[in-house]
Symmetry: C2
Subunit: 481 residues, 2 copies
């Protein structure tokens, strides 16, 4: 199979970082870029670049890209915007294939100079054959080739080296970072992620076409503020959707939001109604936030396709159950009353009805045994009237029972069921606001994610994601023989 056209972007043999001062007393993003690549294990060569020269982390700082011995495929620019035209000229001379402009101060600022600079760097890029990523963006994350832009600090995990099925194209750097952090915490890993900013040269169409052809990307997610060429984008989208699920968070849906897009990345956001209609027509799964984008990715990447919309909810807490019933129904899923033979089984398992409700949601007595809990869920899973089971644990709901004595059995019950249940199973860890509960919830989440299960932080988020996942599969006939 031939490599997709832009594959060289994600697999540079050698890189330079422009703007890396050797002066450790003045830490800068350029230094952190360099440090991140070294720590992450970038497989090629990396060269620091700064007009003052010197030495950093035992590496020589080159004064100019042309001074670097050997080839340089890819350059990250973290220098002031006014110096970037010369950098790109030099990169052209050196034969650099692509420059990532982390630098901001172009079309997104109000001053006219920003727009002028954008025109100028694009002109130089076209003339010299250098491709540009950005400006005003974080660039590339590609675990397979060791590319990253995530710092390595004790208080924040760098991005995982483990690769996965999700390809992310994000106009915003911050949203890209957040999405990588939230998705990987929930067990969805990345083939590639790219924060592409103002898109003066390489844009959402180029990147979408690349992800469509990339065999490592099984699922495409996008955060976009505006597109450069609507017709080409729709063509690219149609092709993408015909081959892989595509999830899009299109921001700038209000007048104020659209105005903010233009000052963020210089994007023309377009009308919300038009966008939504077009994306629906094409078969894109639309979301309203990065967290919802992650929720849907979790469903796509970690849940078998449900055969239908009938959900059973199992957990402890009566009021939680009432709210869950409303929330699940409002999300478009069904919550049928359990058939009487299943309810009879649940009665027999628990021996009493007091402190338990067996209709659906099933409100299990919190202090009953693990064995009872497992048998109850298995009985429900056996019913052909249930397509999806949501098990939930509300952390800050307890007042009289030791929270940890409830948490451990729940985790063990889920662990046991993950081996035996064939029905799609989703876990909701919610009602979590105190510092102690959050700590406990994070530990439980890590364990359950490691079992391969989809985990969600609330019933509405779980049910909206599951509903959109089912919608996608209905439309794309995944269940048809």
């Amino acid at each position: 199979m031939p490599k997709p056209a832009l594959d060289y972007l994600f697999n540079p043999g050698s890189m330079a970082i422009a703007g890396v001062s050797a002066d450790m007393a003045r830490p800068s993003p350029a230094q952190w870029f360099l440090k991140s690549l070294i720590n992450f294990g970038f497989k090629g060569r990396v060269y620091p670049l700064h007009p003052a020269g010197g030495e950093i982390y035992g590496m020589k700082v080159y004064k100019n890209v042309q001074d670097i011995p050997g080839e340089v495929d890819y350059v990250v620019s973290a220098i002031p915007a006014r110096f970037t035209p010369q950098l790109i000229e030099d990169c052209g001379t050196k034969g650099v294939k692509a420059v990532h402009l982390f630098t901001s101060g172009y079309g997104e600022i109000e001053a006219e100079i920003g727009k002028q600079l954008e025109v100028e760097v694009l002109r130089i890029a076209r003339r010299t054959g250098v491709r540009l990523i950005g400006p005003n963006c974080m660039g590339l994350y590609c675990p397979a080739s060791g590319l990253t832009f995530a710092g390595d600090y004790p208080d924040q995990h760098g991005f995982p080296v483990r690769p996965g099925p999700l390809g992310l194209i994000s106009q915003s750097g911050g949203n890209c970072i957040f999405c990588i952090r939230e998705a990987t915490v929930r067990g969805v890993f990345f083939s590639k992620a790219i924060s592409y900013g103002n898109a003066v040269d390489l844009n959402e169409c180029d990147l979408l076409e690349y992800m469509t052809d990339d065999p490592d990307t099984k699922l495409i997610a996008m955060y976009i503020e505006g597109v450069k060429d609507g017709r080409r984008f729709m063509r690219a989208l149609k092709r993408a959707v015909s081959l892989k699920p595509v999830i899009i968070n299109k921001a700038g849906n209000t007048e104020t939001g659209a105005r903010t897009c233009s000052s963020h990345t210089g994007a023309i956001a377009g009308s919300a109604g038009t966008w939504q209609g077009l994306l629906r027509q094409v078969g894109v799964t639309q979301v309203g936030s990065m967290s919802e984008l992650v929720d849907i990715s979790v469903a796509f990447a970690r849940m078998p396709v449900p055969a239908g919309r009938n959900v059973a909810v199992v957990g402890s807490g009566g009021g939680v159950g009432v709210q869950a019933a409303d929330e699940i129904t409002q999300a478009g899923l069904h919550l049928p009353v359990l058939p009487s033979d299943i309810r009879e089984k649940l009665h027999n398992i628990y021996g009493t009805e007091a402190g338990a409700i067996f209709r659906n949601p099933v409100d299990v007595p919190p202090l009953a045994s693990k064995e009872m809990y497992i048998k109850a869920v298995q009985a429900i899973a056996d019913s052909d009237q249930i397509d999806v089971i949501i098990m939930h644990f509300p952390f800050d709901l307890w007042a009289l029972a030791h929270r940890t004595i409830l948490v451990a059995p729940f985790t063990e019950v889920v662990s046991e069921l993950s081996q035996t249940i064939r029905k799609p199973l989703a876990i909701v860890l919610h009602y979590c606001v105190s510092a102690n509960a959050r700590k406990l919830a994070d530990e439980v989440q890590e364990k359950i994610v490691n079992l391969g299960l989809p985990v969600f932080p609330s019933i509405p988020r779980a049910s909206q994601a599951i509903n959109k996942y089912i919608q996608y599969n209905e439309r794309h006939n995944v269940n048809k023989p």
Copy 2:
């Protein structure tokens, strides 16, 4: 001022807990009830009660309530439902004023015996003059008199002893507990909270009338699944709303939710549309979840009344800003472009526009100095075109900058501004998904809550709460001269 009618409920001189086995090898909710009251510092006398007698925590366990020397005002029943008729008989003979039936297994279960028991206990209560709370509920929390039902375990804080303005009436025990935990973490404390369950005797009307007359309650919040007497409830509501803000989470808004109400507390939920219309007419602030109920309480209890809907958003992160613009607008607030004189001031403060957007949302450069940040927010607060300022910190948005070096200055900036800014100020701590970020966010939240400021976990939650707070004040003419 005369005491409100039910004041004796919240101020018992002496209590008994029925069902406290002296056998420590068999821990039970009754033991935990007792332990909670002792640890919380209940000011009256407490007596354990169990047919087997014995001794627990150095206290004599009485076999029957009539054996207790001296008066008993209030009894908590944590015994099986079938023994409760006799307990209430005995309490009547002893002169007990009220019995809280923690016990479940009444009208909420499917078996006919549950309904029969409910009729029976009510009949005995009426005959003997004992008032009933519940059954199937957690009962009372009243910091002033030392009443609580929150356990005291190392992994979960008991309820705070600090009192506050919020009076909570909740049909669900779990939702009541969660609300107390979430509200107090965010700095909203309670006059009283009551979980009232099936409401066989004392019901939502009695409790609403009590909270209306209670001078310690400045703000009333309710979680209700159904009401016993619609006309009386509307009368009580009208009076309550004329005197205090009333926030209601009416659950069971879908057919499935309504069905679940009936199996949770035996409540008849009624039609969602009817409820919403009636509550709106009366001037109730309606919410859809316990978390939203807390958000609105935070606004009421911790924010000065905004003069209008014009919001300025200040923080770091361009994509976050775009989403915030959409979310704030969708919530009904306005996000005007900052007037040019203010933008000029911001330009002068930061010296450059690159890496910053000054229109609104204001995207401040994350690594700029604290002094610049403070000056920038002060300049915005000086504008008479801005009514509310939302400052936000996205925790999991950073990749190249040490998260902690950004967090500390942000917290100091907020601390400084909390002393000097007169405009309503709300803080959003969000984009928080990794365990490290959550830990950091919880620490920052605690500090900022202690400054007296309202803190919210997301822009949509903050703006929806602020919008409803403004709606309330518009309707109730709080800003009128």
